[in-house]
Structures are given as C-alpha cells and as structure tokens.
Symmetry: D2
Subunit: 105 residues, 4 copies
C-alpha cells in the first residue's frame, strides 16, 4: 500500500480541504474505531448488510493509511514486520487449525 | 496494497496454519473492531502509548487486508473509489478547514 | 443503576486515586470503546471466551456509569427515555420477529 | 441497575417484538461495540457532538443491560465485584494521580 497513487491521492484530498490539522494520531485512532464499528454493523444480527461492507472497509482502510502516513510508516512494511512476529508467536505446527490464543497454545 | 508481496505473504501465513476456516467476513469484521480498540488504547488517557501504535495499526491493517482478500476486493481500489464519493460529499470549497459533517455543511 | 451504593462506590474509588482529572467525557468514551473491544474478543472466533465476558462487561458498564455521572445523567433514566424513542421507531406490529433497521421497516 | 423498572421495561420491549432470538451473547457484544463507536463519534474531532452523547450512551447501556440479563448477571453486582479486583490491582497509594497501567505501577 506504499504505492504512490493512493498515498498521493489521500494527501491531495486532505490538503485541498486543509484537514491535516484535524488528523492527530489520536483523532485518527478514534476514527478507525468509529469506522470499524460501522463495518461491524454490516454483521450485527446476520450477514444481511454484506453489501455495504466494501464501503465501510474502505473507510477503515483510509483512516489506517492516513495514520500510517502521519506516523511516517509504510503500511506494507509494518504488516510484513508484524507478520514475522506473529509467525514466532504462532508456530504453524502448534497453531494449525486452531484459534487458540498464543499464550495457551 | 494490491501488491503481490503482502497479499501473498498473508495468504501463505493463513494457509500454513489452516486458519482460512476461521476467517469468515463476520469474524474478520469483529477482529478489526477488536484490534481498533487496542490501537485506541495507545491514546486512552494521553499519547504515552504512541510507541505501541505501529504494531497495533499493523494488526488492524492485517485484518483489513484479509477481509478485502476474502471479499475479492482490491484494497487500493476501494480506497480510491470511496475517496471519489467523499470528494462529492465534501466539496473542497465548502469543507475547507472545517470538520463539520457533510449533512450540515 | 441510580442506586446510591454503586455510584458512591465508584466516586470513592476515583477520588481515592485522584483519577477524576483523567475522566473527561472524551477519555471515558474512548475507554468504553476499548473495553467493548475486549468484551467482543470473548466472541472473536467462537464462544470459547464466554467465561471472561462477565469481567469485560463489568468494565464497559463501569466506564458507562462514570460517563453518566460525569455528564450529570441518571443511567436508568436515560435508558428508559431512549426506550420510549425506540418504541416509536420500531412499532411492535411492524418490527415483530424482524431485525430490519427502522428506516426499512 | 438491578432495579425492577428498567429490567422489566427492557424485557417487555424485547418480548413484544420477539427480538429475544436475535439477542445471543455474541450479537449483543457486537451491538455494544457498534454503539460504543457511535458514542465515540460525538468526540471524533472535538467535543462538538457532546449534545448527542446522552442518547448514544443510553444505547450502549441498553445493550449492556440486555447482555447482563441474558447471562443471568446483576449489573450492579458485577460492577462492584470488578471494582474490588481493580482496587487490588491499583492500590490508591501507588496509583494516586497517575494513569499508568497496573503492570507498570
């Protein structure tokens, strides 16, 4: 996701509206939680809201990208780095087919 | 974020652990909310948890990418498409420097 | 929940620790979201975390009561008042047995 | 909050609509997270949404009470019991005036 087109488009969108001043890390973290709640609403009682999930997921992703940019992080890179940590916490041999948390594996 | 390396790495990670069966859209949406809460915890009382934000943001992003993949969506594409809708809802001229919601602009 | 014992116990607990200064409405709203995420984690992949739900629900409730107290609201009263609004939005005859949102009833 | 009026009113409201079948612990936990996100939205960029906080807080509380009832728990009691645990984790002498997490006190 460090590709130029998306990051550039987001930066231009924010700059045109002078919204950078609202985008503190804390405000972006709140926004991610708010949008995650709206995404979850698609699945509140059943899967009947699945059709709206694309737009809601886009909103969560957008705020994640804005927060990454604000913190000077490359989204792809932090996902890959975290994946390496998770590989260690959840060795394939122990975790295979189980949703058990790592501290109980 | 439709770049091959991250998507491929995530798919391999999941396949090695046979975790695909847990990754229903609903379970992934719940996971995004849960991780968004952990990210928010970095900013619960002040900014003192900022140092953990990178890892928590990576967790939110990871579940977002897994959900996108599960729904057959390209993360970059849906962010750009949503951005076009938001451009219309928040014209730069009206929204400039204001955090007002679109229905009150 | 406007009964004295709980409200008094919470107030004493907060005063003894001089934590009132952290309990802005915004910080309490963040805390409610964070704890709601921990409650949801009991149900992330299945119901296997049900045993922890009591403690996590208590945490969400605690922050809700602190926010109500901070805003000068009586928890029971606002629940009952909101229930009256919801009765109007979801007439029993239309809503019976359906989880449809009010604007599509 | 174990007072009869609120619990009775909620039970009647649910029964009249035959909504008990939707109120699994998992669905109620999701609903609490969703409504917590709406409450947080009152404080997304600043405090300008404070006027809506009462209704949103009522929604979070309502789902918390429904979940407590569903799990056979008394809301007041679990809050008081959790408070006793928190007293031990955060001794007033150590925690006074600090928002530090218990494992770093």
């Amino acid at each position: 996701m460090h590709e130029k087109p998306v990051r550039t488009a987001l930066r231009e969108f924010v700059a045109e509206r002078d919204w950078g001043k609202f985008h503190t890390p804390e405000n972006l973290a709140k926004s991610i939680s708010i949008e995650a709640g709206e995404l979850l609403e698609c699945f509140q009682w059943d899967d009947s809201g699945l059709g709206s999930a694309e737009d809601e997921l886009a909103d969560v992703l957008t705020y994640c990208l804005l927060l990454a940019d604000r913190l000077g992080l490359d989204p792809d890179e932090i996902v890959l780095q975290k994946l390496e940590k998770t590989r260690v916490k959840y060795p394939a041999a122990d975790a295979r087919g189980r949703s058990t948390k790592y501290d109980r594996l």
